[in-house]
Symmetry: C2
């Protein structure tokens, strides 16, 4: 069941809470919104507000049952079962992400998102296997997505073909896409695209560089 | 000069506006907050509010002078001059990011952030060169950061050494870090860390996967 109308800003904080809960050692002691917030980097009042969207989990003055809340968050995020993911565009970034994901899935029993297919157009790659994951031709997206029950996709193709790839994934039934291409993808309203744009992140970061190493330092 | 007290949420939108302005073809026609907002994916009222923090750029009912606003945004983000960046941790993700950054800087005259040094501990890599960028030993961070006027750093080392690397970078004078390690880095208050966490992004995305391919589909 999708909780309609809950803003993405709230959704983005849920895995932060999940991460804190997964690391709690003494699981019999309820966790307060204060502690949960401090460890997640979120104001306690906002923690309570966020969680209130999904049910009445906490006990005022006591806190949240750790296992109960963890299970609920996993359900809400569909992380209570293995989720199958595809990656399209097996260039250097795609390969690095594929490797990263395989390692997380194999090393961390809590991480439930499994890369089950790679797609590319390069005939030297198609038909091969990378870290145990098969590389298919892009023309097989619909078939493989259905056969392997793929629910998430990562796009790491060049900007000029990203929209076409996106269209293929959406047509195949994918509703959740992580896009690394520096373009704004057009999708139907029931499809969610998260954009990961390294150059944009660097440009945002550049604001904070400060005054420099002495040569540029102002007399404060 | 740093504009104190402006929230990171505002700063994050500035490169979106910059990107739109850079793509405007007819630069003599003022751009309205409506058009700027639509192309950046931001409400016009928020565009105006954001830009009002930095000066009086627009003319009500007319819009913003494209070149003037672009120049101002570049100054604010320190993108009016080449910025030197380092990357620490030359594993598969680090290499992919290094390659990506080199390509952006070489292909796009507007992109001003230049990777000028790589750091690692692996003796097989130290002393070598990757796509024309030298790989130094991590123990040389302070020296190289100063010599090459490095202002930004990307951390792509394993979680268990990320804080140490961060400490070295901060001690060398770096104030802006993009962290790919899945740990919360502790830094002084004048240092800004942006976190890029792939597994977190995927967990956030998993919320949106919908009801599935038929097997799981409810009777709506």
């Amino acid at each position: 069941m999708a909780w309609k109308g809950i803003s993405d800003a709230v959704i983005r904080r849920l895995p932060l809470y999940l991460r804190v809960l997964e690391e709690v050692e003494d699981r019999d002691i309820p966790i307060s919104s204060h502690e949960l917030g401090e460890r997640a980097g979120v104001r306690p009042a906002l923690v309570r507000k966020d969680l209130a969207w999904f049910g009445e989990f906490g006990k005022q003055g006591v806190g949240y049952d750790v296992d109960l809340l963890q299970d609920e968050l996993r359900k809400i995020l569909h992380l209570d079962e293995p989720l199958h993911m595809a990656l399209v565009g097996v260039g250097s970034l795609g390969q690095a992400l594929a490797r990263y994901n395989r390692r997380r899935f194999l090393e961390d029993p809590i991480f439930t998102i499994k890369l089950v297919a790679l797609f590319d157009v390069d005939p030297r790659l198609v038909g091969s296997s990378m870290d145990g994951v098969a590389v298919f031709d892009i023309s097989d997206i619909a078939k493989v997505v259905t056969e392997r029950d793929i629910r998430l996709a990562i796009i790491t193709v060049p900007a000029d073909v990203a929209q076409d790839v996106c269209d293929d994934l959406v047509e195949a039934g994918i509703k959740a896409i992580l896009n690394f291409a520096p373009v704004k993808l057009e999708v139907p309203s029931d499809v969610h695209v998260a954009n990961a744009d390294l150059s944009l992140e660097l440009q945002r970061l550049a604001y904070y560089i400060g005054v420099g190493h002495g040569r540029h330092q102002a007399n404060w």
